[in-house]
């Protein structure tokens, strides 16, 4: 908590020269983006690991955000960049998110029930899915008009720099809504993490729970992807760290802890890179390298632990 506060203050103030009235809103805006992304990514990852009952898979690894970009591309392709651009931001967002929800439920809903016990198959399927989504996306992007491509690129590239207020408001409202629902579900999530049989025995409906959680994940992933684009390993990295810090399985502790770690990682990382080291490498690259290493270590250590 303290660490996060330090990072935030450091981020907001250090190296600021010139007009405070300009600097604070400018950086404040970016800060809000970072925090929203941090919380939604970490929460989506915790939720996903709960319903899949393992600590290696994350929505990003299973291709959720690649799916988001694909949907975006298909939309622009079908509607045309002009028509898509004419939709209000709320309209774009609602369309993307609801389509992602449907696609995610269709694809992962069945996969999660049938193949959950087989971790390797899940990872393989996820990676193939993600590859497929990216390939189709690339294919479509090559076929469309360069102007329309620009629309996609603006909407799907990983960047923490400029995000306008309208999108930020929608994202903020959605994230807060999803987080409130998560928090209310926290005890049920604890039960869901025990697995299908135990869930039924304790009087909860595992199917309904999984459905609700997948919807929440879809919302959170679309928020973070819409804001900054796909980030492969952030979720895995921060949730693994959170597990190290709090060795409990209780979601009441785990969710805030993961969110906190995630916020510290993003804000602190951005702060160090931008202010201390002078903005030479994009933060996403650093996080993905670290997250990738964690992923490999977890895989080596084998499965469920």
């Amino acid at each position: 908590m303290l660490l996060l506060a330090c990072c935030i203050i450091g981020y907001l103030t250090l190296g600021a020269r010139g007009n405070w009235e300009f600097v604070l809103p400018f950086r404040g805006n970016k800060l809000v983006v970072l925090l929203l992304v941090a919380v939604s990514v970490s929460t989506a990852t915790v939720l996903f690991q709960t319903i899949t009952q393992n600590r290696i898979l994350t929505p990003a690894i299973m291709g959720f955000d690649a799916l988001y970009v694909l949907i975006l591309t298909v939309l622009v392709f079908v509607l045309g960049g002009q028509a898509y651009g004419e939709l209000s931001q709320i309209g774009q967002f609602a369309l993307n998110t609801s389509l992602l929800m449907c696609a995610a439920l269709a694809l992962f809903g069945t996969l999660l029930t049938k193949a959950r016990s087989d971790l390797m198959r899940m990872i393989l399927t996820g990676i193939i899915f993600a590859g497929l989504f990216r390939a189709v996306t690339g294919f479509l992007q090559r076929m469309i008009d360069p102007n329309e491509y620009a629309v996609i690129q603006v909407a799907s590239f990983a960047r923490f720099a400029r995000i306008d207020g309208g999108l930020l408001t929608i994202a903020g409202v959605l994230t807060c809504g999803a987080l409130i629902v998560c928090w209310q579900m926290r005890h049920r999530l604890d039960v869901l993490a025990l697995g299908e049989v135990a869930t039924i025995n304790l009087g909860e409906n595992p199917r309904r729970g999984r459905f609700q959680v997948l919807v929440l994940i879809a919302v959170l992933v679309s928020v973070s992807t819409a804001l900054v684009g796909p980030m492969a390993f952030l979720g895995l990295l921060v949730v693994s760290l959170a597990h190290l810090i709090t060795p409990t399985a209780s979601h009441a502790v785990l969710l805030p802890c993961a969110a906190l770690v995630s916020a510290v990682t993003l804000v602190g990382g951005q702060f160090v890179l931008e202010r201390v080291m002078g903005l030479t490498t994009p933060l996403v690259v650093v996080i993905d390298v670290m997250g990738g290493v964690v992923f490999l270590i977890l895989l080596m250590r084998g499965g469920q632990r």
Partner: protein, 250 residues
């Protein structure tokens, strides 16, 4: 009372259970025995709504399985399933406390804590209460699972081969515990057992199954006979009767 009427169950085209009609009386220990693949676990799973009912009807007291709300049944009936690979990172106390979930839905009261302590005490888990499940032996983990089922405090307790990982001392202790629950606390125990000797020694009622059908129901004395063993298990061990107890040669 658990009533099973005309229940059948198929996986694909394979028939697992066929036209099962069974009444399990309230109170007492009922043991399901039979060779591997007889459908004992499937029947238990259907009663505990782990698998969806395809044919027939099952009622637990006045509750229809599949018709009544999940959480209502969870306060009436608990099951200890056969494969127990749940959450290795939980501590014993955390696991046992999940047994109280159907009662408090995440907001434990003092009474819930009391029940958890009682369960830990009863199954001799006090010393391990704060150890994680993955640091325990199979038998200890099994005991923790049973304690969780006990903490759920239901009238009906279903157990699927709970003796699997237990040595003789732990097996006898568990069976005695179950008898005590049935005799002194009015619980109804339904248990799938492999070892006929345990069934004969501790059960009030034995249900023998073969090929998805019930082949015999009755008190251990009447059911455990040479003829039945030959018929159901297709092997012919000697059956001894010593001081009124039935013993099957192994």
């Amino acid at each position: 009372m658990i009533t099973v009427t005309g229940v059948g169950y198929k996986i694909g085209k394979t028939t697992i259970l066929e036209d099962i009609n069974l009444t399990i009386p309230k109170g007492g220990v009922t043991a399901l025995i039979g060779p591997n693949g007889a459908g004992k676990s499937s029947l238990l799973g259907l009663i505990a709504r782990l698998t969806t009912l395809q044919m027939g009807r099952i009622t637990v007291d006045d509750l229809g399985v599949g018709a009544c709300a999940n959480d209502v049944l969870a306060r009436k009936l608990a099951i200890l399933p056969q494969t127990n690979e749940v959450a290795p990172l939980l501590t014993v106390r955390e696991l046992v406390s999940f047994g109280r979930y159907p009662h408090h839905k995440g907001r434990p009261t003092a009474r819930d804590d009391e029940m958890i302590d009682q369960a830990l005490q009863r199954f001799d888990l006090k010393d391990f209460a704060d150890r994680r499940l993955d640091t325990l032996s199979g038998g200890q983990r099994q005991r923790a699972q049973v304690a969780m089922t006990f903490a759920q405090d239901t009238d009906y307790i279903l157990l699927d081969e709970p003796l699997n990982n237990l040595d003789i001392a732990a097996s006898r202790a568990l069976m005695k515990e179950l008898r005590d629950l049935a005799e002194n606390h009015g619980r109804t125990i339904v248990i799938v057992l492999h070892d006929i000797n345990y069934a004969a020694a501790y059960a009030d009622l034995i249900v023998a199954m073969k090929n998805g059908k019930i082949s015999a129901t009755g008190a251990p004395d009447q059911v455990v006979t040479q003829g039945l063993l030959e018929d159901v298990f297709e092997t012919s061990p000697k059956v001894h009767r010593i001081e009124g107890k039935v013993l099957v040669e192994v």
